[in-house]
Subunit: 206 residues, 2 copies
């Protein structure tokens, strides 16, 4: 029961904070949107800042969990699948990618430090993953973790800013088709950049 209230509060926070300035959203409005009382916000999150941070953490964790997943895979990661999953997170909350970029561009205000921490964590995860697959001989010796990371971030984050525009020009169904085609090609782009350069399929007996 309490879980339901917490989730509803986090949802209303995602709707309101990611769309509008932190200071332009009131406790009362957050509670009303969630169909509960201001007291519940104080009870579960202490204050507005607490709810704001919990909401951001939930959104970031959805991305970080996907990245942690790819690290734990035995096989060479399926980048198409990973990219699809990340873009679906952004699609479910299109204000989230906009918020990341806006906060990054403004470089101040609530959320700035959380975004810095997120990028640090993401960097550690991706770097250690790329180092692992290099050590296992699965990718080009000269693959650069940072380059792969920035390319992956660019290819998922920027088009996610444009979901509205893309849906406008393609229709809902057309957008879904475009997105699948984009992900297939962009995912293979990244994969192609880290895969060992094409050798014959038959394994050479060393």
């Amino acid at each position: 029961m309490s879980d339901i209230i917490v989730e509803r509060l986090l949802d209303s926070a995602a709707e309101l904070f990611l769309e509008r300035d932190f200071h332009g959203v009131s406790i009362r409005e957050l509670a009303q949107r969630a169909g509960t009382s201001s007291g519940m916000i104080r009870y579960y999150f202490t204050n507005k800042q607490g709810l704001f941070e919990a909401m951001l953490k939930r959104e970031y964790d959805r991305i970080l969990n996907i990245l942690k997943d790819i690290i734990n895979q035995e096989e060479l990661v399926d980048f198409v699948d990973t990219m699809h999953r990340v873009m679906q997170v952004y699609e479910k909350n299109p204000n989230f990618p906009r918020f990341i970029v806006k906060t990054y561009l403004l470089r101040h205000g609530p959320g700035t430090q959380i975004i810095k921490d997120f990028f640090q964590l993401e960097k550690r995860i991706v770097s250690s993953w790329v180092r692992d697959v290099i050590a296992q001989g699965k990718v080009d010796r000269d693959a650069n973790a940072e380059v792969v990371r920035i390319a992956f971030m660019s290819l998922t984050l920027l088009p996610s800013l444009m979901i509205d525009t893309l849906k406008e020009s393609y229709s809902e169904q057309g957008y879904a088709e475009f997105r699948d085609q984009y992900v297939a090609i962009a995912g293979n782009m990244v994969l192609g950049s880290v895969k060992p350069r094409s050798r014959n399929k038959s394994k050479s007996t060393s």
Copy 2:
């Protein structure tokens, strides 16, 4: 002589308008920064809006000219080189990519229509180029111009927002090395996605 004043006015406009809100920049300030008088702005650009639009047109034309160049190339385009040139334009004026994204996110105010027109023009150029190379049998039959376009835009625009951060963590020299490595890999990513899937280097006699 007049060309020098015009260029200086466009430079001061790029510095001030791309950093601050249109309404927060005065004619007097623009003239002072350019070392000239307000009368010169009225003479060459009629008013503040005219100078603003001329400045944006100059910045966009630098990108569009690169794209027009690749269309006129006989050979399959060198994406690494193209990406390098586009990123250099952004590097020379790091406020320009930020302005594009900010205007796109806010979706109102001066510049919004110019950005829409720019993306339309860019779309036409890239689409016609991809159609041409498909018709010439130089790329995969199933290459999608839109996908290539969005990927190229993402891979150049997003990292250009981060130039400051990247220079902070790499130093000026380290950043240049990173950028070259990024461009080499990202450019080959895009190229790999449009190149015919690897056939034997020897041409098959049809």
